[in-house]
Amino acid sequence: MSEAILSLRHVSASYGPVRALEDISIDVNENEIVCLLGSNAAGKSTTLRTILGMTRASAGEIIFDGERIEHLTTPEIVSRGLTMVPENRRLFGKMSVRENLEIGANLRDDKKEIQEDIERVFLLFPRLKERIRQRAGTLSGGEQQMLAIGRALTARPKVLLLDEPSMGLAPILVEQVFETIEEINSQGTTIFVVEQNAHMALSIADRGYVLQTGSIVLSDTASNLLEHPQLSDAYLGEME
C-alpha cells in the first residue's frame, strides 16, 4: 500500500457530540478510480470534507503524496493538489462560465497557464466553450455539472474528489458524466468519487468502499462488489 497517493488511516470525525466517522481507513492509489458508496447520512460527504480539512479529523492520519495533511488548512490542502467537485455542484451562479473556471485556477497567478488550463477544460467540454460568457446559473443541469468538474480541473488536481456527481441528473446525463470521469482519469488524474448510485460508480471504478453509519463495512475490487449479493439491500438501502 505504499504507492497510495491518498490514504486515510483510522480517521474519526464528529460534529459536536455526533460521531460522523468512526475509525475509517481508505487508500487511493495513483491513477485509480476509487468509489465510496453509502446511503444518505452514511458519512460520505463528511469523509470528503475531512480530507479537505473543512471538517477536522478528531483522530487518525490523512496522508497525501507522502505527507500528513490533516492539520493543514483547506487552501493549503487544495494547493497541494486535492480538489473537490462539491455536492449539488454549487457553482458561482452569478458569475460567467469563464469566471467560474478562473476561480478554480485562482491559486496560481500565471495568466498564460490559467488560459491553457481553461482551454483544456474546453477540449473536454466543448459545450462550455459555446457558453463562455453566459452566467453559470443559467446553464442546464448537465452543463452545470460539467462546469463544476471543469472548475475543479483548472486547479490542476492530482486527485479529484467528486461528491455525488450523479445527483439530480437524468440517467443519460449521469452516464455522460461518468464517461467524462473515466476520461479525466485516463489523462492521469486520480479519482475518488463518493456516490449513492452504486452500479454507475462501480462500473467505472477500480475499487470501492462501502460506508454505513460512519464506518467502512466492505471494501473490495469493483467487480467483486458488483457481484456482492447483499450490497444493495444490506448496505445501500434502495437502489435505482
Partner: protein, 567 residues
C-alpha cells in the same frame, strides 16, 4: 376613459400639494424666482407635483390626454377647495395658525395667484387641469424625439434656474456675462426662452445623431476606441483640475467634502462591495486616520513633551510626513478588528462592526484617554502643511490633494476588481464554503479587505483633519458610517463610478440645497426613496449587481462581456 380612475391619483397629487403647502415649503420656495416676475419656485413645486401625478396616471390609462387633464383638474380643484376652506375659516375668525403654523396670508396669496379667493380658486383648478393636460399630452405623444426633447428642455431650464447661485459665479469667473440670463435670482424671460429653445434643439440634435453615433462606435477599430476613451478620460481630468477655480471657494469646499466621501466610499466599497462584508462601523477607520494625523502633527499632542524634547519637532509636524504612518496604523487596526469577526457572517458581522464603530467613538470621548485624545475638547491646532503657499485650509487647495488620493484609490479599486484578489472576493461573496473548498483562503482575503478598507478610510480621516484643522469626537458618530454606506448603495454597490455619483448626490446635493433650510432633509429623503424605488441597483450600477437585482421572471441567459469585472 374611466373617470374614477383619475380620481385617486388626482386626490393623491392634491394631498401632496396641500402637505407641501401646510409645512411651509411652498411659501418658502416662492421666495425664489424661477422666471423672475413670472413664476416662483413655490408655484413650480405645485405644478410639478400635479404634473407628476397626471403623468404617472396617464401612462397607465388608455387615453392619456383626457386622463392627465382630469387628474390635474381633480388635484388642482382639491387644492383650490382647501385654499378656499382656509380662507373661509380665517374670515370667520378661526385661529387657523394655532394648528397650521405655516398657513400664512402670504401662502394663501400664492395659492390664489394674488387674485381674489374665488377667482384664484378657479385659476388654480384650471392651472392644475392644464398642467395635467400637458403631462397627459406628453404621454400620448407618438413622436419619441419630440417628447424627449420637450421634457429635456423643461428640465434643463429648471435646473439652470435652480443652479443660479453656482452657475452665475461660475460663468462670471469664466468671463461670460450673465445679465441676459439671470435677474434677481431667477431667469429673465429672454433667458428662459433661449434656454428652452437651446435645450430642445440640443436634445433634438443629439437624438438625431444617436443612431449614427452607435453605428460609428460599432465600426470603430479597437485602438481608435481606446484612444477616444483615453482622450475623454484626460478631458475629464483636466475639467476636474480646472473646477475649483471656475466654481469659486464655496463650491470648492463642497467638492472637497464630496471628495472625502468618495475616498471613504471607495474604501468601504472594497469591504462591502467587493468582499461582501457588511461593515457598519466604518467610521472607526475614519476616526483612526483623523486622530492619528492630529496626534502626529498638532503641537497640542501628548507626543510633545514638556522638556521641549519633541517628537513633533523632529520633523513629524506636517501631514505629509505623518500620513504614511497613519495609514499603516489604520491597516493594523483594520486587521485587528477584522481578525475576531472573521467567523461571523451577514447580520452578525454588521452588528459587531457597528459595535466597533461605537467603541472607537466612546474611546475618543472618554476621560480616561483624554490626556492623549483630548476627550470632548478634541484635538486642535493641527498645523497647516507646508509649503505655506499651498495652505490646505484653502478649500481650493485641499481639493487637489483629495482629488489626487481619490484617483489613487479609484485606480487601485479598478485594478483589484479584475484581479485574482477581486475574483477571490467575488467567489467568497457568493458562496463562502465553496470558495474555501476551491482553495481560496477566506480568512486571508477577509483580512485583506478589512485592512485595505481601513487604509483608504484613514486617508479620508487624515485629510479631514488637515482640511478643518481641529477634530472633535462628535464628528465620528454612527452617522458617518451610515452616510458612507448610503453613498455606495445609492451609487451602486461594487461600482467605482457609482461611488463618485453617490457621493456627489448624497453629500453634494444637501450642501447645495442649504438655501432651503429645514426642508433640505425632507427633499433629500424623498429623492433617496425615489431612487431606491426606481433604481434599486443604484445610479451607476455594477453589471453583476444589476443582474442580481433584476433576476427572476423569464431571465434570459445574459451574455457577459469577455473578462467582465468580477466585482
Amino acid at each position: 376613459m374611466n373617470p374614477t380612475a383619475a380620481l385617486k391619483p388626482g386626490l393623491i397629487g392634491g394631498t401632496v400639494v396641500i402637505y407641501l403647502a401646510a409645512i411651509g415649503m411652498v411659501e418658502r420656495f416662492q421666495d425664489r424666482n424661477v422666471i423672475t416676475g413670472v413664476v416662483g419656485l413655490g408655484v413650480v413645486l405645485i405644478l410639478l407635483t400635479i404634473a407628476i401625478a397626471a403623468y404617472t396616471a396617464a401612462r397607465k390609462g388608455r387615453t392619456p390626454m383626457p386622463t392627465g387633464a382630469l387628474v390635474g383638474l381633480v388635484a388642482g380643484g382639491m387644492v383650490a377647495l382647501i385654499t378656499l376652506g382656509f380662507e373661509g375659516l380665517i374670515n370667520a375668525g378661526v385661529d387657523v395658525r394655532g394648528m397650521f403654523v405655516s398657513i400664512t396670508p402670504g401662502l394663501l396669496e400664492t395659492l390664489e395667484f394674488g387674485l381674489n379667493p374665488a377667482l384664484g380658486a378657479i385659476v388654480m383648478a384650471l392651472a392644475g387641469g392644464t398642467t395635467g393636460l400637458v403631462a397627459g399630452g406628453l404621454v400620448g405623444l407618438k413622436d419619441e424625439h419630440l417628447r424627449s426633447s420637450i421634457v429635456f428642455a423643461v428640465s434643463m431650464t429648471l435646473l439652470i434656474s435652480l443652479g443660479e447661485p453656482i452657475l452665475r459665479v461660475t460663468l462670471g469667473n469664466l468671463g461670460i456675462p450673465t445679465n441676459w440670463l439671470y435677474e434677481l435670482g431667477g431667469l429673465t424671460i429672454a433667458g428662459t426662452i433661449i434656454t428652452l429653445l437651446a435645450g430642445f434643439g440640443l436634445r433634438w440634435w443629439l437624438m438625431g445623431r444617436k443612431e449614427k453615433r452607435q453605428e460609428i462606435a460599432a465600426h470603430m477599430p479597437e485602438d481608435t476606441r481606446r484612444t477616444w476613451g483615453r482622450a475623454s478620460l484626460i478631458a475629464a481630468i483636466l475639467a476636474l483640475i480646472a473646477l475649483p477655480w471656475v466654481v469659486g471657494p464655496f463650491v470648492s469646499d463642497v467638492l472637497g467634502t464630496v471628495g472625502l466621501y468618495v475616498l471613504l466610499g471607495l474604501g468601504l466599497n472594497i469591504v462591502v462591495g467587493y468582499a461582501g462584508l457588511l461593515d457598519l462601523g466604518y467610521v472607526a477607520f475614519f476616526a483612526v486616520g483623523a486622530y492619528a494625523a492630529a496626534i502626529f502633527t498638532s503641537p497640542a499632542s501628548f507626543l510633545v513633551t514638556e522638556e521641549g524634547e519633541t517628537f513633533a519637532a523632529a520633523g513629524f509636524t506636517n501631514i505629509w510626513f505623518a500620513f504614511p504612518f497613519v495609514v499603516i496604523i489604520a491597516v493594523v487596526i483594520g486587521a485587528m478588528i477584522g481578525a475576531p469577526v472573521l467567523r461571523l457572517r451577514g447580520d452578525y458581522l454588521a452588528i459587531v462592526t457597528l459595535g466597533f464603530g461605537e467603541i472607537i467613538r466612546t474611546l475618543v470621548l472618554s476621560d480616561w484617554l483624554a490626556p492623549f485624545l483630548g476627550g470632548a475638547q478634541g484635538l486642535t491646532r493641527i498645523p497647516a502643511a507646508p509649503p505655506e503657499s499651498f495652505d490646505l485650509r484653502n478649500p481650493q487647495h485641499i481639493y487637489y490633494v483629495i482629488l489626487a488620493f481619490c484617483f489613487v484609490a479609484a485606480y487601485i479599486s479598478y485594478r483589484l476588481a479584475d484581479s485574482r484578489v477581486g475574483r477571490a472576493w467575488a467567489a467568497m461573496r457568493e458562496d463562502e464554503d465553496v470558495a474555501e473548498a476551491m482553495g481560496i483562503s477566506v480568512v486571508r482575503y477577509k483580512l485583506l479587505a478589512f485592512a485595505m478598507g481601513a487604509g483608504v478610510g484613514s486617508l479620508g480621516g487624515v485629510f479631514f483633519a488637515a482640511k478643518i484643522g481641529s477634530i472633535f469626537p462628535n464628528s465620528f458618530g454612527l452617522q458617518v458610517s451610515i452616510n458612507v454606506l448610503a453613498v455606495i448603495i445609492l451609487g451602486g454597490i461594487g461600482s467605482i463610478p457609482g461611488v463618485i455619483v453617490g457621493a456627489a448626490a448624497l453629500v453634494g446635493l444637501p450642501e447645495l440645497l442649504r438655501e432651503f433650510g429645514e426642508f433640505r432633509l425632507l427633499i433629500y429623503g424623498a429623492i433617496l426613496i425615489a431612487i431606491m424605488i426606481f433604481r434599486p441597483e443604484g445610479l451607476l450600477p455594477n453589471k453583476r449587481r444589476q443582474r442580481e437585482l433584476h433576476e427572476g421572471a423569464g431571465s434570459a441567459p445574459v451574455e457577459l462581456p469577455e473578462g467582465a469585472s468580477p466585482a
